[in-house]
Amino acid sequence: MQSVTETKNEFVPTIVAFCCNWCSYAGADLAGSSRLSYPANVKIIRVPCSCRVNPMFVLKAFQQGADGVILCGCHPGDCHYVTGNYYTRRRMSLLFGFLNYLGIEKDRTRVEWVSAAEGAKFSAVMNDFAKRINELGENKRLKDLRVKENGHE
């Protein structure tokens, strides 16, 4: 399917960013219209609210080979849906702590609050996150975890 061939030996991480429609997605739009760049390997999925992000989406991303997953939402207190991001904050605090407990580097997951006015912050966050994932290298671990000890994948 992939028609554009990559130089195989250069590591380009896959990064999935879940952005809430009202703040962070708009913040990403502002980063765009302000021409504030961040790496092209950051790909954004639009969700109505950060509280729509099911832990299963995060796990699915890692299982499918993502090297980093970042969740962005409105700042606590500014949620378009009043309380959505408060639940996100608890859920992801626990989930990401849990993934680290299983041996996944804690820097592969992140939650950031980015408002619609924070285009510069959006770009800075993505640059920083991508840089960190680059340093961590390929996410062999969750790929490995799904492989049975005795072989078949």
């Binding site: 832990p55 299963m56 299982q63 408060y86 608890r90 605090s93 626990l94 990401f96 041996g103 804690k106």
Partner: protein, 328 residues
């Protein structure tokens, strides 16, 4: 027949004969002394098979979910730790407490037959604990074992002898509180490096044969239809070897019961592969306590669990994951 069992059977017979209840949920004699299984009794005649001994580790609360669907009143025998599960089920409307009579029963910790067998004792015919020792009888003779060496793992970290709920109790001998440090296992893992933890869990989780025993026994896993059997979720697949389902199962299951898990330890007890599944749930419990304040699921049958609750001052995930923050 021990005194407690006698008392329990007597009470069960009374309740059934007086038509105070239509059904009693208890433990039924198995082939051996060490394999009693949960069962429903509908008449006092059936009670001859009723058993309550030191191998009755099973938490009966979950059986109420199905039994409550039919009409009539039910009596259930619950050990102190099982009562928390009962409250949690009431809170989530899975059990109608109006229909249930909870009878709290005495428990001094239940025994693990595998541990007894591993002491080289075969063909066990009976075992009774008293005062830190367990007297085991077998076809090949008797033995006395140290109680702590043969208790179920879940009983080594006993939550306490308090009944979170009980309409009446049958306790003949005072139950001694045991000191425990239930988070030490989690702490040991937390102290390891990420590589070591990963290796540990990789080794443990790859033993899983997806028999679903943990899910089937778990009193918090009472979904009408499990998400892993739900096509719309995008995770269910018919092929049992699918990697996502298989490997993410335990993570998602642990997350789903987070804040609702009473730490009853049934998942680890029934795992045929001896995966220490309770260490997954306890990590969530430990973090919830640390971040959002001490919380014991099932302490009461109302209120909200920590994941459907929030405070404006909650910790940010970045610092929460680092283990730096503590609930003020």
């Amino acid at each position: 027949m021990n005194k407690t069992e006698e008392q329990i059977v007597k009470r069960a017979a009374e309740l059934l004969d007086n038509k105070e209840v239509d059904k009693v949920i208890g433990w039924k004699k198995g082939e051996f002394c060490f394999d009693p299984s949960p069962a429903a009794f509908t008449s006092s005649d059936e009670l001859k098979d009723f058993v309550y001994n030191d191998f009755c580790g099973a938490n009966l609360s979950k059986y109420l979910v199905n039994e409550c669907k039919s009409g009539g009143k039910i009596a259930v025998f619950l050990k102190p730790c099982d009562t928390y599960s009962f409250n949690e089920l009431v809170k989530e409307h899975r059990v109608n407490k109006e229909k249930v009579k909870v009878i709290g029963v005495e428990c001094h910790g239940k025994l693990d037959i595998e541990k007894i067998k591993s002491k080289g004792i075969a063909a066990v015919t009976g075992a009774e604990e008293s005062g830190g020792k367990v007297a085991v009888t077998s076809l090949y003779g008797n033995a006395e074992l140290d109680k702590n060496e043969v208790l179920l793992d879940k009983c080594l970290t006993c939550k306490g002898k308090k009944f979170a709920v009980a309409d009446e109790i049958i306790v003949l001998n005072e139950m001694e509180e045991t000191k425990n440090d239930r988070f030490s296992g989690v702490e040991a893992l937390e102290k390891m490096s990420e590589e070591e933890r990963f290796a540990f869990w990789k080794a443990e989780l790859s033993k899983c044969i997806r028999c679903n025993a943990c899910r089937n026994v778990c009193p918090a896993c009472t979904c009408n239809k499990c998400v892993f059997d739900n096509n719309a979720s995008g995770v269910a697949t018919k092929a049992p070897a699918d990697t996502f389902e298989e490997q993410m199962f335990h993570i998602i299951r642990a997350f789903h019961v987070a804040g609702r898990c009473t730490d009853c330890g049934e998942c680890s007890r029934v795992c045929p592969q001896h995966i220490p599944l309770h260490l997954l749930n306890r990590k969530f419990i430990k973090d919830i306590n640390r971040l959002y304040g001490e919380f014991q699921a099932g302490e009461t049958d109302e209120g909200k669990n920590p994941l459907i609750e929030y405070r404006e001052s909650d910790a940010e995930p970045s610092s929460a994951v680092n283990g730096e923050v503590r609930h003020a």
